[in-house]
């Protein structure tokens, strides 16, 4: 597979790390695994780490926005971190960076959740 996922249930948040290529083909598995984890687990917030993501297109924007809506509907927050310049550009174009909090790395993502 061209996308690998790692899910870690942290104290403050579910940490999801994506590795590889996030496109329409691989978005499905990201959607269903995150959806399941958020619905079934005791998840308050989500941190999505894109550090090892080598490619993303607008299908990635869709799946991120979808999970953002899901977690905010539960009263939680979503933070995206380790965003490459290419992905950041997509965030800017779509206005996603205006609604989803973007942090430099996992550490600052966790602190940003604690600060509130």
């Amino acid at each position: 597979m061209s996308l690998q996922m790692e899910l870690e249930h942290g104290r403050k948040a579910l940490i999801v790390r994506l590795k590889g290529e996030l496109d329409h083909h691989t978005a499905d598995v990201v959607k269903s695994r995150m959806e399941d984890a958020i619905v079934s687990g005791d998840v308050r917030n989500v941190i999505l780490s894109l550090r090892d993501l080598s490619f993303m297109d607008s299908s990635g924007l869709g799946v991120i926005l979808g999970r953002y809506k899901q977690i905010t509907a539960k009263g939680g927050k979503m933070v995206v971190c380790d965003v490459s310049p290419a992905v950041y550009r997509l965030f800017e174009l779509s206005g996603l960076f205006k609604i989803v909090s973007v942090q430099e790395n996992e550490k600052s993502a966790i602190s940003s959740l604690e600060a509130v």
Binding site: S2, E21, D23, H24, H25, A27, K31, F55, D57, S58, S59, L61, G62, V63, L65, G66, A86, L90, L93, S94, G95
Partner: protein
Amino acid sequence: MSGANFMKLSFASRSENESFARVAVAAFVSQLDPTLNELTDIKTVVSEAVTNCIIHGYDNDPNGIVTIAAEIEGDTVRITVEDEGAGIADLEQARQPLYTSKPELERSGMGFTIMENFMDEVDVTSAPGAGTKIRMVKRIESKKALYN
């Protein structure tokens, strides 16, 4: 080099071919010695256009055919991505940022906007029932810089 270099690629409308399509086009374009950013732009727009053929053109039916043509002439690459699927009734609406006809599939509606932002020219020909053809043009800067 005499004349333009070209390639033409057709494949089944399966989502597993999205990654193959963008790698193939990127490998072709890399003859122009593009920067990494330019290559990412090209991969992204090919991914957008091919995904649209599969999802919207063929409604996720794997039996359709997606066709890509690419041509390199001087420092310019021309790419067309084409399907023989559903076509688009209202092109102006379709090209609006954030517009999508399939919000239930978590589409972002950003495909066309990305193509327009990442390429120098984007031109769409489409009619309901007659498929969709996207023509895109990009001048590759790195090569230009070399000749200055």
